[in-house]
Symmetry: C2
Subunit: 290 residues, 2 copies
């Protein structure tokens, strides 16, 4: 086609573009760059969009969080595993420096402590300053923030957490070491009896090879591995998957109605029917995660 | 922001853009325009994308069908209502000139006749020529193609169809008259006893006011109105809703396992668990369609 240009990810001429290796992606009208800097790990940027999405946080010019649709992701990564534990007290969030996952976890009154292990302090600081509705619980006294590499952090932990949520970037760059057999084994060892890990597991639409590899790893490490999905408007294909893994907890066998009844009125997405429906997968995805 | 340009929908400089009034949207790498013409109703265009989406059909520079993700839509609009009818013989498809819905409907061996009522013959011809995997059943002898306005076509029909599928464009332009109380009343009258209508009902992410208005209309006309949703990667927000309406059929009360067992192996998405899960809605959408 004549006159082709090569569109780069990031903001140019008033538009943010993010095009996947599969040749399609997301465009957002941008109003103003509020923050842009390089941490030791990645480029961290926040811009004000001219859209229903509000403010947007990107890392290395890849979409992480928008004010307008973040609840699609944060309600799913947290409440789906949390409601399947009778009394989650001790929670570890890996990545998730924006604070959205921590905010949802703290809706569960049983929780006594949340450790947030985020490698990049700049993500936490930028989120506190520019995404206050997302980062709003990061100063809660129940939260312990550890700005360090989760690979090292998890190594000596045994029998410590009821719930571990891996709210990481993709399996490239700073997040790469979070997608290995060794890391998952350490996660498994750090779970208490009856503990559950949920981990973001990429886009079923565009990340077939990444999903296949990740689930092969998870099946080698965890006796129980399941998958749930939900709509995520600003992630590739508008569709996202999470892994549900445990040594001893089968998915959808237990549900805590008491906490659910308190939390559902605070959620834009999450409810009990929606919870159960998340584990029904389309044929092509069943095949990828088996 | 300095240097802003106004990005128009359509193809320019090797990229197709479609930005919603909500300020974000879709970008696809384009390779070659295969067809572009104005019918009496709209601009009809087919391009070869440089992406996993393959060929793309747009109407008035709005996304209609891609070879790469069309099954997300066509399996849902058809099999969800069809499996809830014990013996669908007579089916009407309104719009859907690309033929994808007809292709899925004809997988049900009970079907004796499918009427395709599409206002724009150019959509049918372009699809036959450039989207053969989608339009492949349009010459099936069970299919009667009526190139005419469904508003007029449906007026004198009484007690004729087991299933009616409204596979229309948005409630603007040629599709506008398909979103009225009068049209829905004529649809209701043309359904046989035990008949079901399913209609595309826009994006839950971006079309809140359109969804609210449409469901108010449907509730005025049909005693039974329900909603189901699924991932649709190239539609706004990656998420789409369909209305399930009937005079006498409650959703999820009946399921035809015999036909399901034949058809599921031919589908990339559709299976029985996925079918049941489609009717579990996020809180914000429950509120819009009530």
């Amino acid at each position: 086609m004549k006159g082709n240009i090569i569109m780069k990810n990031g903001i140019e001429n008033g538009y943010y573009h993010e095009i996947t290796p599969q040749g399609f992606g997301l465009v957002i009208k941008a109003k103003e760059v509020l923050f842009s800097d390089n941490s030791p790990f990645q480029k961290v940027e926040v811009f004000e969009s001219d859209s229903m999405l509000g403010r947007v946080l990107t890392l290395d010019d890849l979409m992480m969080v928008t004010e307008g649709d973040e609840y699609h992701y944060h309600e799913m990564i947290s409440h789906i595993p949390m409601m399947q534990h009778p009394c989650p007290k001790s929670v570890l969030v890996i990545g998730g420096g924006d604070g959205g996952t921590v905010r949802e976890v703290l809706k569960h009154k049983t929780v006594e402590k949340v450790v947030l292990c985020e490698i990049d302090g700049m993500v936490i600081e930028a989120s506190k300053k520019f995404l206050p509705t997302v980062a709003c619980e990061l100063d809660n006294p129940k939260v312990e923030i550890r700005v360090e590499d989760a690979i090292e952090f998890i190594k000596d932990k045994k029998d410590e957490y009821d719930i571990i949520l891996i709210d990481s970037t993709d399996p490239m760059g700073p997040g790469e070491g979070l997608f290995t057999d060794e890391f998952y084994t350490n996660i498994k060892n750090s779970l208490k009896k009856g503990g559950i890990m949920a981990a973001q597991s990429e886009s079923p639409v565009t990340n077939h090879s990444e999903i296949k590899k990740m689930y092969e790893q998870l099946h080698r490490v965890f006796p129980i591995v399941s998958t749930y999905t939900s709509n995520m408007p600003t992630y590739p294909g508008g569709y996202w998957a999470w892994a549900f893994c445990s040594v001893d907890v089968e998915p959808l066998k237990y549900y805590n109605d008491e906490r659910a009844n308190e939390i559902i009125p605070t959620c834009k997405m999450y409810n009990k029917d929606y919870h159960y429906a998340r584990f029904a997968l389309p044929n092509y995805l069943k095949n990828l995660v088996k």
